[in-house]
Symmetry: none
Subunit: 233 residues, 2 copies
Amino acid sequence: MNAPLVTILDDEPDIRHMLRDVLEDAGFRTQCFARAREFEAALQKATPDVCLVDLSLPDTDGLALVHRLALEQGAAVIIISGRAQVQDRVTGLELGADDYITKPFDPAEVVARVRARLRGTRTPQQPGRTARFAGWTAFFDRYALEDAEGGEVPFSHAEGEVLRLFLENPKRLISRAQMQESLGGAAGESFDRAMDVRISRLRTKLREDPKNPRLIKTIYGAGYIFLGDVSWS
Amino acid sequence: MNAPLVTILDDEPDIRHMLRDVLEDAGFRTQCFARAREFEAALQKATPDVCLVDLSLPDTDGLALVHRLALEQGAAVIIISGRAQVQDRVTGLELGADDYITKPFDPAEVVARVRARLRGTRTPQQPGRTARFAGWTAFFDRYALEDAEGGEVPFSHAEGEVLRLFLENPKRLISRAQMQESLGGAAGESFDRAMDVRISRLRTKLREDPKNPRLIKTIYGAGYIFLGDVSWS
DNA sequence: CCGGCTCGTAACAATTCGTAATATTCGGGC
DNA sequence: GCCCGAATATTACGAATTGTTACGAGCCGG
């Protein structure tokens, strides 16, 4: 995968070079242009991911350019302008710009806003966490455990909550109160025997020996402790 | 299609109401919250398109909330903050916010920036979209699924809506309320058992094993989750 | 009007999970 | 070691949630 390409269109050399330096330091590829004419010519060759455009250009109406860019190219457009009036910003954004930065600006903020544009349309494809321990592998995305031989044992939502709490706090004492806090969240007034049942069912799925539990150990009068080395991925 | 939903999370009533008024005038649906707790509860029911979040919340660390939002929800996040330092803005954006507005702000600019976000996230309904997942290929233009061997299974409009929702939000929990919101759109008064039936029929067409569904998983008391890696084209 | 299709409703089956009843274990006092 | 009350484990049951199937209303195209 190539580094994202950011184009800089600004007629002031100082600003142009400063932006180029800071963006390249941040790991982006850049292309600089002083005039809209050159910029549009370059568009034929490569499509940038983000376009920084200064509105005060000598050879074109910057806003019109932004409008065309937003319509025709897939790129995100960030306006950089000396005009700080609200009305200017509003019309810039209405014409299709994705962001509007006013001069003077801080280089670090520009980088952050460029990055925000690149995140752009996000599909929150959660990686789906898994944890390995004692021959088991827990897949929290699909609510299932896999033993060493690859046999699958599904677990329910409630069981998964308990399991996650244990796996996130291995070899540490977890009191009943903490569990209720972390899980049920709610009241906690009436019988918390529910928690016992949850743990019992979880132990069954982990094939624990009731007489001699090796993974989920009970500390009489204090709580539970999960033994076993956990590695998340 | 419903108007986009914008949530407003701010503990100052004046600002909250001002934002609500101006955004509703602009044609958006809005939901207001004073506390992060209520806000997160509402997320279970409906997915907003844009979230406005004030960082100075009494009951939570606003930045952590933004981070979670950006990661888990598909919504765009705009931070509204009284802190105007560059460093604040940079960290806000780095943590996943899509924009950062400092107080005092102009209502018109907020509307413009909300609109800019919506342009970004909205995927224009292209005519011939297809999605590949788990050996299947879904052709939404001709309402049919194709299995690995090329056998075709047609699906109906209602089934397609559910399938599309799943494929657009893979590996994410989708609550019943969100489904009704996205699909039936309407009231939601009478029995939503219709949704169960839709899903059942869809599962049948995907040849899911009722005992052990691999693609559409039920989370008791919470909703559904679609497993499987989706790639659109 | 008929036959096929879609899709919501309703009836019934299956699952989840908390409550309550029952059994077992723990720790201290003797 | 033995007994007892308390804490924990297990099991059984039932309410709520979800899955499945059957049925019928609505909608075409003949």
